[in-house]
Each structure stands twice: as structure tokens, then as C-alpha cells.
Amino acid sequence: MVSICFYFQVHQPFRLRKYSIFDIGSSNDYFDDEKNRQVMQKVAKKCYLPANKAVLDLINETDGKFRVSYSITGMALEQFGLYAPEVLDSFKQLAKTKCIEFLDETYHHSLSFLYSKEEFKEQVKMHNRAIKNLFSFSPKIFRNTELIYNNELANFVEKLGYKGILAEGADHILQWKSPNFIYKPKTAKNIKLLLKNYRLSDDIAFRFSEKSWKEFPLTAPKFASWVNAINGNGNVANLFMDYETFGEHQWEDKGIFSFLRHLPHEILKHPDNDFLTLSEAISRYKAVGELDVHNLISWADVERDLSAWLGNKMQQEAIKEIYMMETAVKNSKDNELLDKWRKLQISDHFYYMCTKWFNDGDVHKYFNPYDSPYESFIAFMNIINDMKMRVNADLKTSSMVQ
């Protein structure tokens, strides 16, 4: 028996505008609304709407046998509301089928777990509330930003009441073990650990349109045969990927939607296969062993570490500055300021400052709204300095009132 667990990550950052040093003190307009609207509407048209339609059709065609888990960040939810309400409606429609599970994460797609547990907890709560309000669903599974994970996180999240947590099935933590089973984090009590099968996931997410790949072109029967091969030596096939894989990273004219529409039928041809949401998977299958992950891992790049967000001095300085303001921002009781401060925690801002692959000018540039990592650092730091001035002004005013 192999259960296929699809989990799709849905996220769009609030991109910052090119905030100049001369704007400091004169403008608290930090976000590039126009750019954010354009991107959201483009991705809605190319990905979210057609992909949701495909998933809904598949659920209907298979009488509910096709099942999917989603994690949608608060940042994406807010931008659906602002720029593409029809996407929100289509997710609500999916939620009604009961074949969909929603996961929790930090509302702001942040790295807050690494810098402030308090802030982390608040953002997780915010996300939980948002999912309940929008989809009448109470998430029981947690995924941290970019699948950043270690033992400590598993313990912490378990205490928040979650039953399951996700991580990358990285070779260096698995060693001889297989990602196709459920595990238990070494230091936790009951929470279960689901690991991404990165080979199968990346076959779809990264290699689908890659002509130099020896398996090109990837067809639904071919992929289904790889999944079938897990029978006998695994319980689950965890296919974790960005939802934007469909139509945005892999294009429609390369056949990604046709692949998506055929794959579930191909997989269900094998009598021992089925689809499960992540909660269903952890209630059906027992943990086969413990996994000890002391150092932080993520699902990014070959390194599977945090260097994409925190690898250089600019990134470290920028994120340090943000969390140094936490107490002051919260003491100011200024909700608008708090909201903006939290949106500056979106991990994408730090990702844009990455210089790791800058020399090769590879795919990462495609996702960067700035000309260079340096430009993104400048805009970010200028905004931080403006915010600092405003926090101090707020604090002064409030102490005068008292």
C-alpha cells in the first residue's frame, strides 16, 4: 500500500518598493502595491485558478479519492483578498469538498522561530485563526517556513497542540533511512514527522520541463510507475512542492496541467495506491522510528540549510535589526506599525539579499524584484530606519499622554 500525500505551498510576499534614503522620515509607504497586484493577478491567472479548477475536477472525477493538503500563508491570503478575491472563493469551494486539508504555519512566512519564540507563537496563532475564519478548518499539522526544521521546533510545535510536522527528507539526516515512512522526532512525545520525498517531488517541481533530463518528457504513466515501485518498501510518497509549480514555474504549454489532470487517474489504476491528506496519513501509519535532527535544515538548494536567507552579513544585519525592534513596536500599541513590522519579517526579503548564486545569475534572479541583492538590502535598511524613527516618536507620544 502506498499513500500519495500531496502538499502544496501557496505564498506571495508583500514586495517592498525601492524605498530611498531620502524617504526616511517622510514616507511610511513601504510596499510596492502595484507590483504586488500585478504579480498576484498574473499568478492567479496562470496558476491558482487553473490549478484549483484541476484539483476540484479531479476530486469530483475520483469521487473524493483524490486528496490534497495546502499551506497558504497569511500574506497570500491577504493579497487574494486585495487583488484576486476569486482565488479565495475557489479555495473555499475546495474546502467544502472535505478532501482538502489546510496546514498551519507562521502567518507572515517568517523566520521568527529562530529569533523570537514569542513572535513565532503569535504568528502561528494568527494563521490558525485566519484558516478557521476563511475555511472553517482547524489545522492539526504544522509546516515551518521553507521547511526549516529541527528537534527543538518539533518539541515547541507539539506543545502548541499540533499532531504532525513537516521536514525535508534530506539525505544527511536520513542516511540509510527512507522518506517514505512516518517518523517521530527524537526529543518529542507523540508528534509525527512527515518527510518530503525530494527526488519524486523535484521531478515535478524542478525537472518537469528540463530537456536535458534523461527522463524528459515526464508523463503521468511514467511517474505513476515510480510511485508504484514504493509498494513493499514504504507507506507514503510525500510530494511536497510550491503550488506555483503548476503554471508559473512549469508552464502550461509544457504540459504541466495535463500532467496534473492525468496523474491521479494513473496512480489510482494500481489497486494498492491511494491519496491521503497529511492528517489521514499520520493516523493510518505508525512511526517506524525516531529521527534526530539537531541542526536546522530546510528544503532549499543543494545545501538544505539556511544560507539562502541568513548566509551573508547583509542578511544577518537586516534580520537582527528587525527583531531588535520587537519590544518597542509592541509597546507602541500602534497596530498599523505592528502590521508593517511583521510584513518586514517575510522571509523573501532576506532571500532577495542572497549573494550565493548571484555570480551565476541562475533561476533565483527570476524571483527577485530588485536589480541586485545590494539594492534589496538598501531598501530594507532604509525602511527599518524609518520605522525606528516612527517607533521612537510613538513611544514619546504615548509617554507624554501618560
Binding site: I21, N312, M314, F358, I378
Partner: protein, 395 residues
């Protein structure tokens, strides 16, 4: 392979990047065992020893023609210079001088053995054409700058333009120092893009000053280094200085170089009330040049039109962060820099302040820039030139 090369300036007698490029390229070629006979205008006696030493005893032979040709000289300042020197042995006008240089080239072409002719910029083009006519060997012209770059497109000298065009048309291949320059050549000179090969410049900075701590300073230094001419945008530099000083009182602006806009820039600085914050260092070479880079916290090249721009590479090799004009060839080949439009004073000054203020930015640009510029050396452009030679010889 033997190359007859016509150049006109060579370190230490150079007024800009052309001399630096010629030096680097010939050195790179010599390492590839290409025999170069370099034809140069005459130089003052006291400087000869130094540049012979630089060349050393490799494959480069030097040929001199007595002239005071300077690459960036206009007809009017040529006659000023001529008065200062011994006018007896020189021609009376710049264009007359070019013709004399081209005549002398005929004799050299007859005496020398070579497979190919390689010319650097317009003043040598007639010489190249003559050499080609005599020995029927292929001609490669190397374009480091065009009249359109030097004048910013206003007041293009018709005669210079025609010399440039004639050279490019007579050449078997045209080497452009950037795609930016390739575009200028196709757009303004009507040369077919198939005939043009892009060979980006490189940098090989010989660091002479080891002890960085020797340079002590209280202020933050923003450096401009280049000719003080319209092409290089020194006016945008002082406008940006004014704006930066409103926010960073400790900043000092050093302008290293000389040129016809110098009086205007000095007056402008005074008029804006920042004369005490803008310092003029004159034309620098050797250790002084290196010291200027080492003093700088940030280097700015606000060129209006820069075919290539070697100075940012030099700055980077001295660990200095660079802010450079998008209207430049060098911006095609480096990434660890900040790009600006030369007219965007707000953006230039905003970026200067950012580098001065945000230490992680300054350090990242400086470290990554140094790492990036290390990959540049003259063997790469030399190799590309060899490929161009082989191509035209096979044709």
C-alpha cells in the same frame, strides 16, 4: 604569429584607460607567444626607462614616432600644447599630425615582418589603413571609445567621425570593448554587427602599497577618478556631493584627474557652498593612484557614455565598493556593484549614503567585488584577440 600594433599611449605616459588597456593587452598577448611590434608616438626621454622596464624583455618590440598625440586631445588644446613644447619637430595641427603618423607607418610597414595589423582608436586608423595597403595584410581596428562617447553626442567632430568610420570600413574585423560600444558602432557608423567582435577589457592591478593602516583619515571619502570631461559626468558627481553632504556632513569628495571641465567643476562646487568638501587631486599615477583608491570608502563612475570603464575594476581590486553608470560597458561584466543612471542625482546620492552608512553593505560589496575582479586578467581578452586574428587570417 606576428602583430604590427599601432597604439598611441602607454603607461606611464597615459591620460586614461586606453593606455592601460594597451598595456594589459600587449602583455597578455606576449604571454601567448604572440610577437607584437608596438608602434607608439614619441615620449619624453626621462620616461622611457620606466616603460621599457614595464614591458620587460618579452616579445614586445617598441617603435617610436615623434609626435605629441594625445588620444583625448581636441584640435584646440593640441595647439596649446604645441606652444609649450618644441614645435620644430611637430606638425602644426592635430590632423596634420595624424597624417604624418600615418606616413611614418608606411615606412615601418615596409621594414617590419607581420601577419596582421591591430589599431587602437581613431588616431591610428589611417596608419593601419596605410600598412594594410602596403603589405596586403588583414587589419583589425579596436574601438575603445567613439566620438559619440567623448562628446556625449553633442558637437561630434565631423573629421574625427569620418576617420573612425573609414577605419572601421577598411578593417577586416572591428573589436568593440563592450556590447554597449558594439551598439554605438552599428547605430552611428553603419557597420554590420557580423563584423564586430566584443572583447571586454580586464584589469591587472599591481599592488605596491601593502600597509593599509598607513593611510589615516577622519572623513569618509567618495572618489571620482577620470578625466574631468563631459563624457565622465563630473558635474553629476558634484551635484550628488551636494545632496550627500546634506545628510552626511563627514563626507569628503575627491576628484582625481584633469580635463577641460575642471574650472567649471571648481566654480560649481564653490557656488554650491561645498568647495571645502570637494578636493581636487589632479592626475594620479602609480602609487598615488593606488593610494587614492585605498583612501576611498566608495568609488563613483557617473559616466554619461562609457565604452568600457576600467577604473571600477581597479577600485574593486583595491576592495573599494563601486557605484557605476548603467551607460557603461563594464556594467555588462560585473555584478557586485551598484548601478545608477548618470542623470539620477537622487539615486546616486542615495546609494553613496547607503554605502557610507550601512557597514554590511560596504563590506559585502568590497569582499564580493574583490572576489569577482580577481577573475579578470588580460589573458582572457588577449585570447579573444587571438581568436579574432585567426578568424580574419582564415577568411
Amino acid at each position: 604569429m606576428k602583430v604590427l600594433m599601432f597604439g598611441w599611449e602607454f603607461p606611464p605616459v597615459n591620460s586614461g584607460g586606453l593606455g592601460t588597456a594597451c598595456y594589459g593587452l600587449t602583455k597578455g598577448l606576449s604571454r601567448k607567444n604572440i610577437e607584437v611590434t608596438l608602434v607608439l608616438p614619441d615620449y619624453p626621454e626621462d620616461l622611457k626607462a620606466e616603460f621599457v622596464k614595464i614591458i620587460s624583455s618579452n616579445n614586445i618590440k617598441l617603435k617610436k614616432i615623434s609626435t605629441i598625440l594625445m588620444p583625448y586631445m581636441s584640435s584646440s588644446n593640441y595647439s596649446q600644447t604645441i606652444n609649450k613644447r618644441n614645435a620644430r619637430i611637430y606638425g602644426n595641427t592635430l590632423f596634420h599630425e595624424i597624417n604624418r603618423y600615418a606616413e611614418a607607418a608606411k615606412k615601418i610597414a615596409m621594414e617590419e615582418e607581420f601577419d596582421i595589423i591591430h589599431c587602437h582608436d581613431w588616431m591610428t586608423f589611417k596608419a593601419g589603413i596605410n600598412a594594410k595597403a602596403i603589405k596586403k595584410k588583414p587589419l583589425v581596428v579596436h574601438v575603445h571609445a567613439t566620438e559619440f562617447d567623448r562628446t556625449g553626442g553633442n558637437g561630434v567632430n565631423d573629421h574625427v567621425y569620418h576617420v573612425e568610420k573609414e577605419g572601421m570600413e577598411n578593417a577586416d574585423a572591428v573589436i568593440a570593448v563592450s556590447n554597449y560600444t558594439k551598439n554605438t558602432i552599428t547605430r552611428h557608423y553603419g557597420i554590420s554587427p557580423e563584423k564586430i567582435r566584443v572583447v571586454h577589457n580586464a584589469v591587472e592591478f599591481e599592488h605596491k602599497i601593502d600597509d593599509k593602516s598607513k593611510i589615516k583619515k577622519i572623513n569618509k571619502v567618495v572618489l571620482f577618478l577620470g578625466r574631468i570631461t563631459l563624457q565622465k559626468g563630473p558635474d553629476y558627481f558634484v551635484y550628488a556631493a551636494k545632496k550627500v553632504l546634506q545628510h552626511e556632513k563627514n563626507a569628503r569628495f575627491v576628484i582625481a584627474g584633469n580635463g577641460d571641465m575642471e574650472p567649471f567643476i571648481i566654480e560649481k562646487a564653490a557656488e554650491m557652498g561645498i568647495a571645502d568638501k570637494v578636493l581636487f587631486a589632479g592626475f594620479l599615477q602609480g602609487e598615488d593612484l593606488e593610494r587614492a583608491y585605498k583612501m576611498a570608502d566608495v568609488y563613483v563612475m557617473p559616466s554619461v557614455s562609457e565604452p568600457f570603464g576600467i577604473t571600477p575594476l581597479e577600485a574593486m581590486s583595491n576592495n573599494v565598493p563601486v557605484i557605476i553608470s548603467r551607460q557603461s560597458g563594464v556594467s555588462e561584466v560585473i555584478r557586485h556593484c551598484l548601478l545608477v543612471d548618470f542623470w539620477d542625482i537622487d539615486d546616486i546620492s542615495s546609494k553613496i549614503i547607503s554605502v557610507l552608512r550601512y557597514m554590511p553593505l560596504k563590506e559585502s560589496l568590497s569582499e564580493n567585488g574583490f572576489g569577482e575582479v580577481k577573475k579578470f586578467n588580460w589573458d582572457i581578452p588577449a585570447q579573444k584577440c587571438v581568436e579574432v586574428y585567426n578568424e580574419v587570417l582564415a577568411a
